[in-house]
């Protein structure tokens, strides 16, 4: 699998605290990478570095063969890196389609004016939802949707931008068991379309069901990075807690 992004010896300090300690990581095309670790292990710092929120203290971030210094999330988005936030960052009072196109609406001409092209946006959203095999309907208000459908809306936003890497922060944390299956199906769908997905999760079964590779963080260091088939939930638990040092 071709490497899409590569982190080389990334260190991130916050004052005296070393949040990331010499972390190297490959992000491959069409791969779902599970990122696990206890609270404070450095998961979010790593994700925020990849997403451009943080600039590394030292180390290099190579994107499609070129070293980059991302100035912020908007810059990362321009490079095809999208984040699906845990709180989803969607507006409950708007329709699914309005959320998908928020900030990049399709406009049409009406005489001298430019007005929202509801039809085109609904059609395009319906296409994306169909690609994701989601039952979400573009004209429905998000407030009436299930957790799984809300995830579909948030993911559809990233599809619009033709992203290459999608970071998902605890997408299955706050939803029912049935909806978890829906979200995992969405992740598989993204993988089929050649996207790299980084799944940050506490839920062991989800990671083992959908990920190709698992990376475990502990105290700012990467303590494991291996194909999921060669690991086990017991081993990962041991790595997270420190019962197993590295694997």
């Amino acid at each position: 699998m071709p490497v899409l992004a590569r982190l080389e010896h990334i260190v991130k300090d916050f004052g005296a605290v070393r949040a990331l300690d010499n972390v190297s990581l490959d992000i491959n095309e069409g791969e779902v990478l599970g990122l696990m670790g206890d609270n404070g292990a450095g998961k979010s710092t790593l994700v925020k570095t990849i997403a451009g929120n943080f600039q590394p203290t030292s180390g290099t971030y190579v994107l499609e063969g070129k070293p980059v210094l991302l100035s912020g999330p908007a810059d990362a988005r321009r490079h095809g890196i999208e984040v699906v936030y845990q709180d989803l960052a969607i507006c409950d009072n708007l329709t699914a389609s309005a959320n998908v196109f928020l900030g990049r609406e399709i406009m049409r001409r009406l005489g001298p004016l430019k007005v929202l092209d509801h039809k085109s946006m609904n059609r395009r959203s319906a296409e994306i939802f169909r690609e994701l095999k989601s039952e979400t309907r573009p004209a429905d208000l998000v407030v009436r949707m299930s957790g799984g459908q809300r995830q579909a809306v948030a993911i559809a936003r990233t599809r619009l931008a033709k992203s290459k890497i999608v970071l998902m922060d605890e997408p299955t944390a706050a939803i029912s068991v049935r909806q978890v299956a829906e979200v995992l199906a969405l992740i598989r769908r993204m993988k089929e379309q050649g996207l790299s997905v980084i799944l940050i999760s506490h839920r062991m079964p989800d990671v083992f069901e959908v990920c190709d590779r698992v990376v475990v963080m502990r105290r700012g260091r990467k303590v494991a990075d291996k194909p999921i088939a060669q690991s086990s939930p017991e081993e990962v638990t041991g790595l997270i807690t420190g019962a197993i040092q590295t694997a």
Binding site: P73, A74, Y85, L88, A89, I90, C91, D92, N93, L94, A98, L102, G103, R104, E105, M107, L110, V115, L116, N122, A126, F129, R130, E135, R137, A139, D140, L141, V143, R144, S146, G147, Q149, I175, S176, R178, Q179
Partner: protein, 335 residues
Amino acid sequence: MSAPDDHPGMEIDLLKGSSRTLLNRVLLAQETWIAVAILVLGLVVSMIARKFATSGNLLNIFQNACFIGIMAIGMTPVIVSGGIDISVGSILGMCGVTLGIVLNADMPLVVGIAATLAMGVLCGAVNGAIISYVKLPPFIVTLATLSIGRSLALVLTNNQVFYEFGHATDAIVALGGGYTFGLPNVVYALIIGVIVLHFLLTMSRWGRYLFAIGGNEPAARLSGIPVDLIKISAYAFSGFMVAVTAIFLVGWLGAVTNAIGTGYELQVIASTVIGGASLTGGFGSALGAGIGAILVETIRNALLLAGVNPFWQGTFVGCFILAAVLLERIRSVRR
């Protein structure tokens, strides 16, 4: 809200669009219920007081409602974006005084109108700028400017009343107090305001962004929406509509006192909320603001004609605000 496990309409075809019928939507709309309330109230009162249902009185209600209604049109985008503007009464004072001073100096009406509109936009933009850039709560900021505006109106006029508008006297009185095709001019202003705002809220990027900011401001920011500018423009729009009201009101009254518009903020906010705007942001409509204003004015007028002591007016208007907010709660459960 439905339970998270409940998938309403999951089995429905993706392309069928909304599953709710037009009738269902009309029945769910707050505007419909307000219209029903106006009709019921009107029927009851016309049985008590014969004078209520005369064309003269109904026209009177409509005309009075227009002044509040136009300001409610301005208030709607502010409330939709999750803000509030309680300084509208004082902005009305500033605008009225501006119009009085300019026309009193024997300037043409066009100059007076331009100056008044500019004053309204300026006052609103100042509110918006403080809220957006100094990041103070809208309630506090506009409470402060409510006080400042009223005081500046006194300073500017030195407590003088204007009833001489130079060459423009006839024109301004004809504009504010005159009729076109049998209806007061101000009625057309309200109708145009409703249509323009409806278009802006449903068809423009500006409207879409207002709803997004009112629904989830951090999400709007993450989506790259210029949140600060949109908020400032919402308050500036409110100021503009207040200025429009000032022009008609001064023409209708034929005079400007610096107390003009005192206490209007309550009626304006009441109209907007009764019309279905949510004070927590994210919901509201142009038609609702207009119809809400008509209901508030109908209550006032009906109580007066029914011989109820006018001291009770505030109690009734307050109860209707509570009822409207409760109705909104019930609706959102059914949604």
